[in-house]
Symmetry: C2
Subunit: 455 residues, 2 copies
């Protein structure tokens, strides 16, 4: 006999939890659809060559790799096996050709390239599916988790960025997470900062360091930058530049004056100005913070970058995204600009759970349990159930012939609001005894009245 267990970092979603998750998914889906995004799904399993090298060295380590089926050592030689003992990674390409998807963006890029001739551009798609990472599991971090992505590919229009801000606002408003904050930055402004500081080191070193500001504080960032060759005066100038402020025209104006006039400055500043302009006719107020310390790790971002957080929540960001000018280039389709965002379903769930935004129990799927005393009364329950179901009412007939107390006990534990009981007298009078499980009240009604009650 073996113990029933799950791999670490993976979870079952029981009915109550799944109903809540599906509600979140349904809100996000509805908002994405409202903006004209089309649904897409890609397989969980991708060729490893599609995934490898797309998420940095660290990402490659976190890919789940699938052992080739059949005799997976067919093409492996004795000396290659011996070498593998020293360096196991050398064996991987020989025995594992496939892996589990790590995010939804690279599979989307792969899809676009494969179907370029059948797609109309700009192509707007949303995709809500699980992804897998061999990360060390901890609170809020799972090895199998769900992302809810939307991307537009094939246009450089900043209307896309503006619409994503509206999508954020609508999703968070419907989810009652009104205390959201959208952080925004632009990669060209980060480049412009490096130029302004006359920092001639690696831009990635700069962005990686300031991206950690939240976690390691300014002192930590300072040390890291010094170690990467930045001078002390550059570091203090940088500190002055990394403003965080609500996004509006005046903060953009003042920022423009602080940055070295150059192509990068112009591009970044103009983009932010246009986004402000595209949003200004809206009835809604968007909580957008210009946060120049927002860098986002992924190398493929080239324009605007986003991050959404919920004030007071113990988890970090619940969504991120940005614009990439050459996501599909690696698959042979260069110079196609795109922009996208991704909600972390599990993070959103955790935040809403923490903020007690879910009801205590979702209750059973069916609106009523029908109880009985014997075969004959059960048969009447079955007829009643048939009729209710024809009216699209979900109903459960207790399957076994157990005493009524046991059936009511089951109804109670399942959280049923209503129970219908058919005994000998109800059978004769052609009525149903309906019990309100909260008030304890009970009354007889005919099938029509019951149908109206449950509809």
């Amino acid at each position: 006999m073996q113990k029933a267990s799950l791999p670490k970092g993976t979870r079952d979603f029981s009915p109550d939890v799944l109903k809540r998750r599906n509600k979140i998914i349904s809100v996000i889906t509805k908002v994405y659809a409202r903006y004209g995004f089309e649904p897409l799904q890609t397989p969980a399993v991708e060729n490893l060559s599609t995934l490898t090298g797309k998420y940095g060295e660290e990402g490659d380590k976190l890919l789940f790799k699938i052992l080739n089926s059949g005799n997976f050592l067919t093409d492996v030689k004795q000396e290659q096996l011996s070498e593998a003992l020293e360096n196991p990674n050398s064996l991987v390409p020989m025995i594992a050709g496939k892996g589990l998807r790590y995010d939804l963006t690279i599979p989307f890029a792969r899809f676009v390239v494969q179907n370029r001739n059948d797609l109309q551009f700009p192509f707007k798609r949303y995709q809500i599916q699980p992804v897998w990472r061999a990360d060390r599991p901890q609170k809020g971090r799972y090895r199998e988790f769900w992302q809810c992505d939307a991307d537009v590919i094939g246009t450089k229009s900043l209307l896309c960025e503006a619409e994503f801000i509206k999508v954020y606002h609508e999703v968070f408003t419907v989810l009652k997470l009104a205390n959201y904050e959208i952080k925004i930055n632009h990669r060209k402004i980060l480049e412009s900062i490096a130029l302004t500081l006359e920092f001639d080191g690696n831009l990635t070193h700069l962005t990686v360091a300031i991206d950690k500001l939240d976690k390691i504080g300014w002192e930590g960032v300072r040390k890291e930058l010094l170690s990467k060759g930045m001078r002390e005066n550059q570091v203090s100038d940088l500190k002055e530049l990394l403003i965080k402020s609500p996004l509006n025209s005046s903060v953009i104006d003042s920022l423009e004056h602080k940055l070295k006039p150059c192509e990068q400055t112009t591009e970044g500043i103009n983009a932010l100005r246009e986004i402000i302009s595209l949003l200004d006719s809206s009835q809604n107020t968007f909580n957008i913070q210009l946060d120049l310390s927002l860098a986002r790790g992924l190398d493929y971002y080239t324009g605007c970058i986003f991050e959404a957080t919920i004030h007071g929540a113990s988890v970090g960001s619940v969504s991120g995204g940005g614009r990439y000018d050459d996501l599909t280039g690696v698959f042979g389709m260069p110079d196609v600009s795109g922009v996208g965002i991704s909600f972390g379903l599990d993070r959103l769930y955790d935040v809403m759970q923490e903020a007690q935004l879910f009801s205590k129990s979702e209750g059973p799927t069916a609106s009523m349990l029908l109880c009985h005393f014997d075969k004959i009364t059960q048969k009447r329950c079955i007829s009643i159930a048939d009729s209710l179901r024809t009216n699209d009412i979900s109903v459960e007939v207790y399957p076994d012939h157990k005493n009524l107390r046991k059936q009511l006990d089951y109804a109670n534990k399942r959280g049923y609001s209503y129970v219908g009981v058919i005994g000998e007298s109800e059978l004769e009078d052609e009525v149903i005894q309906v019990k309100d499980m909260r008030s304890g009240e009970q009354k007889n009604m005919n099938l029509n009245t019951l149908t109206q009650l449950l509809k």
Copy 2:
């Protein structure tokens, strides 16, 4: 540069295909819910120990195994590696501890055992998720495909079987697959047949052989049975016994007379009689065939077995299922009876596609594309879109400033029924020029009228 490609046997689901698949899922979900089934999801990744040994020797070979992360050869010794060259399977348990789920039934059993103290029995759940098998891909057979399962666990009541027949009827009726056929049989009747024939060989040999009747014909079955030790006269008696007939009381009566009176006969015959009785009050006519050659391979079935097919479809069955008396025993929870069915989503899709039950194109998600001439008219489009979206109308604003012909061309190729155009005069008159893309008709309307039109 690498070629964008997918592993064989896997597929992307483009918007049109996915919308159709989601419609099928939504029909099945609705019917399952109407019968009181609760939703459940389990992770794609299970411990290999949970999966191995549950699907027969052939099934074990078809499991996708996931390479342990990090240094997967840590605990492997040189001589074990050398041995692996002869016998690769010996290496698997050392380097792969996890696998992709092969079906939804075993994960469900694992879930039930793990959560036995929190669940109310009978527990009715449905589960609609992909599964993976390293099968040789061919028409209608994929390596990643979707199952739509429902099971009741914790009751022996035959009401469950009767309700599954109703579920079949409702799902197929809504999907316009009225030419369905539900085949039914009972494992105890198969046992009773063996006893009646005085066949003292292995019952599995008998069931495996007759299960192939559709594929290899009677001559093939005969040969296989003779090779398994059945005598020629037993084979011809068997042929007489393997009736196929609409399920009704008289066919059960006559079958009972042909079978040896014994415990198995009584149990099987009584079960079928009760199912007939539980269905007889229904308004619907169910197309149920008693098919004694239906055996279904999986060893865990112990009671009724089902298979559903669509007449005239080129694929085989679209659903199967049955009762198992000890599915959870292997995980340490013995003697819990359950019964379930599973629709193959991909098969259903293929059958409906073949029968041309889908519209030519699903059309775009948004109901209108808004077109414009410049920044100012685009801004008016954005306001209109904001207002329409507040009324829960999906709408797309063309993101770029391209000439109108290009925008209309995009609308056309995307299959939009309506396009709204804002030019200088529309801006001035505060109207929208609405083009009906099929009739070519166009008229100006104000925002209120447009909202009513699209609602």
